[in-house]
Amino acid sequence: MSPVVRDGEAILHEARALMTRRVTEPSRRAFLARTLSLGGVALLSGCSLDDNASVESALDKMSRWNDRVQAALFRQDVLAPTFPESSITRPFPFNAFYSMDEAPVVEEADYQLELSGLIADKAPWRLDALRNFASPRAAQQITRHVCVEGWSAIGRWGGVTFSDFLRRIGADTTARYVGFKCADDYYTSIDMPTALHPQTLLALTYDGQTLPREYGFPMKLRIPTKLGYKNPKHIRAIFVTNTYPGGYWEDQGYNWFGGS
């Protein structure tokens, strides 16, 4: 693939991401107008549209509070339930902020996993190196994927326990966050205790096959203790940091911890 084409694709992704944000924003602004039509809620603060910012800021604070409560509730020894193979949802639903035919095409030959931040060995990883690292430590799980929208589906993912990988690259496991950048311009971040949970999986396969494009080729992070939007697909970079990295949906209002 020539660099020119790759640039074109990057611009497309950028535009798509920007458009998605523009599309959702007017409805966010409209929410208080609708609030006003609910007489009882108007009692809240004698709301006017000017209070939009202060209402938003109060809701922000509550969401940060809920992050802290969820972090306190989280226990590394509490495992997500696992299921027999017969209960796998077929076909497993595709879900993203774009349609299935827009899913990114990642070429194995070009692919490198970039590492940055509080990591001792920042050397990038080729896909075959990742597979070689994973195969003697193979882990798999049949767990329920819960979407923030309310639907859920049971799937089978295989790969390597993420904490094994973090230790291998010398990640500072006392840091607060692990962040992810994806080939579809999606980005998200998780708390370190969840990153080290025994069921948090660097997934390279789905249902025994190489992770297909629609489920996140070449790799995704499978976290059965978090909602779907905290399970990034098409990961191209991982970083460890103490600075809050946010996320694609989280920056628009979804709760950051997103734990289940």
Binding site: S37, L43, L73, F74, E149, G259
Partner: protein, 211 residues
């Protein structure tokens, strides 16, 4: 006569004001609960719309939050008001003895009798301090339904950390269904409750001023 008035003993002071029909803590928790339920139900409808269980959606105009993320922010903020206010209500109600005084005994016979009397328009509301059997069972139902809403809501929020609770509701989708049905039951209660208040407006005054 004036001398007599002047020398009146303390016992002749104006009578002590009678205790309010609805104590202050009850009025405060009632109206905070109204606010919490209003926010929870209208934001909950928007959340439901993102992935409907049944073949319908709630009109977006009567929902709160503007989009799924906004509705979730309202829902997960107001849940604290609903749960903590409900806890305060339950604790004072139990500790003060009001719960047992006002709500019990409640019998099936009594409920049937009062329900028939109400349908024939013969149920007296002359003493707002006294809940008839239909009121008792209706308010107890509302309280228990809210407890069920909080419990099923917790199971949906934390299906892994509170896995035992989620299992109790038959898994994640089971908890969603229970949460929805309990919401529908609460909305039905509110509809009847508001109609009854309109028929006996005095009860609205006692819930605001206490008298």
């Amino acid at each position: 006569m004036s001398t007599l008035t002047k020398s009146a003993p303390p016992a002749a002071k104006p009578p002590v004001r009678s205790r309010p029909v609805q104590p202050g803590w009850l009025r405060v928790t009632h109206w905070l609960n109204v606010l919490a339920v209003l926010v929870m139900v209208t934001s909950g409808w928007r959340i439901y719309n993102a992935s409907p269980i049944f073949g319908f959606r709630f009109p977006n105009d009567i929902t709160l939050g503007g989009w799924l993320g906004g509705a979730l922010r309202w829902h997960f903020a107001a849940m604290w008001l609903l749960a903590l206010n409900g806890l305060v209500y339950l604790l004072i109600n139990l500790a003060s003895g009001r719960l047992s005084r006002r709500f019990f005994p409640v019998t099936l016979r009594g409920v049937m009798r009062d329900a028939f009397a109400a349908l024939r328009g013969r149920l007296a509301h002359d003493d707002p301090r006294h809940y008839n059997q239909v009121q008792r069972v209706a308010y107890l139902f509302a309280v228990l339904d809210l407890v069920l809403l909080v419990a099923s809501g917790l199971a949906i929020w934390k299906p892994v950390q509170l896995g035992w609770l989620c299992t109790l509701f038959g898994g994640f989708q089971g908890a969603r269904l229970v949460h929805f049905l309990a919401m529908a039951a609460l909305v039905a209660f509110v509809a009847v409750h508001v109609v009854m208040v309109a028929l006996v407006p005095r009860t609205l005054r006692t819930m605001i001023t206490g008298r």
